[in-house]
Amino acid sequence: MSATPSAVSVKDLTKRFGNALALDAVSFDVAPGELFGFIGPDGAGKTTLFRILVTLMVADGGSAIVLDDDVVRDLWSLRRRLGYMPGRFSLYPDLSVEENLGFFASVFGTTIQREYDRIAPIYSQLEPFKTRRADALSGGMKQKLALCCALVHKPEILFLDEPTTGVDAVSRREFWDLLSRIKGPELTIVVSTPYMDEADRCDRVALIQRGKILAIDTPHALTAAFDRPLFSIAAADRYHTLQAARGFPRVQAVYPFGATLHLTDARREVPAAQTVAELSSYLREHGVPDAHVEQTPPTIEDLFISRMGAPDDRVVA
């Protein structure tokens, strides 16, 4: 078998459920050793895509090659080579930590002892609780156990479907730290999340919405692709300020963003300083005396919003 240039190569993948188009001609490539993220809301098609890639569902059109194996034709070879962590907790709740892991190892004809080195970074954190039933673990610990079970047969690629959804901030951070530690030339990781702020933990991300990929690139390149200056408005009364800013004659878009509002100017060519001056005086004249306007760097979420709103959402990779 020749060396593969891509760990995952997907072309025009399409899947329908009745009238609903879950995946609409999706194409992308993941390089070996990459930590690649799919970011999008519920219903974007992330789970459907992952199920097709791990050979649990067959697409209606297009092709998907994972590690040189076709996901339909070569499923028996591929299944031994990939690890999959579904979005819903899918371990045995009434088995202990050790029993769950031992079970998954035995399915692949191996043992915890034999694979210990590979899983040690994660399993060492679970070992103090190895006799505890899986359903008695905290959310973060459950996710670590599920990751361990997906890794125990030494897969070459991991598919993790929303591993951090519903997990608290500390556990989420620990989970991403673990992924950074275990990824490498021997292990490609494909992960999905609905949380835009997790994009920075990935080498590259695909933004996905309603079955279509809106953009694919490194997190830095994605925010750099934001096509005009972005401004933040800080004022005590956000509700009133939002109403006032909507009336700004040059406004392209304005929306709440954390403690501030974000606004873009419809005139792309105008210097940022001019927008700041015009917008500040407009807001002062319209009942927002304390508005503080400044240019601000766009985030992944700003880009997602701008691409979502665009009439033409072609892939821009």
């Binding site: 608290d168 500390v170 609905p194 956000r238 919003i305």
Partner: protein, 242 residues
């Protein structure tokens, strides 16, 4: 003096030898959007159950909209609304039926309810979807509908449990606009979430760690005091020092 929507003093709840909520003292002003944060197991749910009159405190006190949580819990239930990500609407009832059901539960007079139902449908642009089963409408609509239903009886205070998880960023902002609008009209909003960017939308936040409130203030002040750039960093620093 501003009116207090929540006034908790040394509020405590123990289960056997375990102290789930450990002498928490905080207040929430009328019309404020307050973020109630904490890691899994930090005691948020127990605190909320006491504040909604569902669980008696072991010691300490709390007044919600002026009523004592220990002795006037039935009055509290009349003046609060509650929306949870997991359960708020009946999937096998239509949009209109869901609104009418909640109106009935809160004893809203028939003529008034008819007007409110029509107001909600108009505000959410759901006029043409009123006969659709809730099961079949998009998640973003469901969340906005659940919020409007929680506000149907004009509560003084509404509790939101992870209101926007899983929706797209535009729908999420539409949801926050509904929250700001409700707060602007004087409704107090208490949001529990463990997604930290959501916290940045709040006027003030508290962070619970192991049953205690370890931080209380505006997101900007708390970040400045801790020398961090996001509520996420602040949260992780507090939780790890526990």
């Amino acid at each position: 003096m501003t009116e207090l929507a929540i006034d908790a003093k040394e509020l405590t709840r123990t289960f056997g030898s375990f102290t789930a909520v450990d002498h928490i003292t905080f207040d929430v002003h009328a019309g404020e959007v307050f973020g109630f944060l904490g890691a899994n197991g930090a005691g948020k749910t127990t605190a909320i159950r006491m504040l909604t009159g569902l669980l008696r405190p072991s010691s300490g006190s709390a007044r919600v909209a002026g009523y004592d949580v220990a002795t006037e819990s039935e009055s509290i239930k009349q003046v609060i609304g509650y929306m949870s990500q997991r359960f708020s609407l009946y999937d096998d009832l239509s949009v209109r039926e869901n609104i009418e059901l909640y109106g009935g539960i809160y004893d809203i007079p028939r003529a008034e309810l008819r007007q409110r139902v029509s107001d909600v449908l108009t505000q959410l642009h759901l006029e043409n979807a009123e006969k659709e089963l809730v099961r079949s409408i998009p998640l973003g609509w469901k969340q906005k509908l659940a919020f409007s239903v929680a506000l149907l009886h004009n509560p003084k205070l509404v509790f939101l449990d992870e209101p926007t998880s899983g929706v797209d960023p535009v729908t999420r902002r539409q949801f926050w606009e509904l929250i700001y609008e409700a707060a602007h009209r004087g409704t107090t909003v208490l949001v529990t979430t463990h997604y930290m960017d959501e916290a940045e939308y709040c006027d003030r936040i508290s962070i619970m760690v192991a049953g205690k409130i370890e931080a209380l203030g505006t997101p900007a002040d708390l970040k400045r005091q801790a020398g961090v750039s996001s509520v996420d960093d602040l949260f992780v620093a507090l939780a790890r020092s526990a």
